[in-house]
């Protein structure tokens, strides 16, 4: 375990992101991302649990920009088939980051499958994602993210996190169409 909660991990990731597009999974991750670094290039996926990886794949296939998906372990179990589709296409501009706190954090931290029997890095490898890294040390997060962002092959990072929320994080105060419109402008820019 990295000893960090998801908020701290998102901070480390966003420290390195300049012009990449970011697709963020539902719930607390969106709220944390908004507080850490709101920008038009963030797509806050406020509904449709599980879809962040699929949205990121479609964006990466249709755009030349780097696309980073900030995802969760339970969301990936919910849409595990997306690993097959990502492994079929493996766009070189896609970085899929799963912050794995082994819990359904947004619904009360019920234990998730990764706490017991699912290893998402192995799922990604079995689906032929070309570069898969399991990150278990806090000091490895920044180098792993940096390498994935600089690469021209698809990367999946599974970053182990502690359970926990930061105080003072609130809802994303943006309308859905506003999020979409400014995001589409950032894609086009």
């Amino acid at each position: 375990m990295t000893g960090l909660v998801r908020y701290q991990i998102i901070e480390k990731i966003m420290d390195q992101i300049t012009d990449a597009l970011v697709v963020c999974t539902i719930g607390h991750p969106c709220q944390e991302l908004f507080k850490i670094k709101d920008r038009p290039g963030n797509f806050y996926m406020l509904g449709s649990m599980g879809m962040a990886s699929s949205i990121g794949l479609g964006l990466a296939m249709a755009s030349d920009k780097k696309v980073v998906v900030l995802d969760g372990d339970s969301a990936n179990v919910m849409n595990m088939g997306a690993f097959a589709t990502m492994g079929f296409n493996t766009p070189g501009n896609l970085v899929h980051i799963i912050i794995d706190n082994e819990a359904n954090g947004s619904t009360g931290f019920q234990p998730s499958f990764t706490a017991r029997n699912v290893n998402l890095d192995q799922v990604a490898k079995a689906c032929s994602i070309p570069n898969v890294t399991l990150v278990e040390e806090a000091s490895d997060i920044t180098p792993a993210v940096s390498k994935a962002l600089a690469a021209d092959e698809m990367h999946t990072l599974v970053i182990k996190a502690e359970i926990g929320l930061m105080p003072g994080v609130g809802i994303v105060p943006l309308g859905a169409v506003d999020i979409r419109d400014r995001f589409m402008k950032a894609v086009e820019a």
Partner: protein, 165 residues
Amino acid sequence: MTPTDQLYERLRASGLDFFVSVPCKLLDGLLGRLRGDDDILYTPVSREEDGVGILAGAYMAGRKPALVMQNSGFGNSVNAVCSLLNYFEIPVIFVISHRGSTGEPVEAQKGMGDAVTGVMAASGVSTLSIDHPDQLPRIDSAIAAAFSEGRSLGILLPFSFWEAS
């Protein structure tokens, strides 16, 4: 031209340029045409809901997206349709083989075949049933309206369409 070839030509002429699919026996010929088309982006998807997500991403990158599938796939997609496509006003064109329609040999297809139009209506997706290839010109204005209004559209293709000569 076969119904499949007429459908393919019409979909391409309407400007659709990013296709994903889940197979159906009735769609086999169309999927072959899509696989061989170098002027579009195309991928098979694991499940229809996965396809909805991919197409939402493609739309936000400026593409005109379509999901080719059986009607059963709409049942697999309802939450993503309502809380992703409708919520963010992202239009996707669903090109649907309507299993369970008159002529269906597989009894298990009847349940979703009967339900699909109502499920789509309840999900805020308008439908257009093309019962014969002669009706294909009707999809042009429906697709154009879907993109201009930011709402998704289902094009239902029952057995009568595929079996027309």
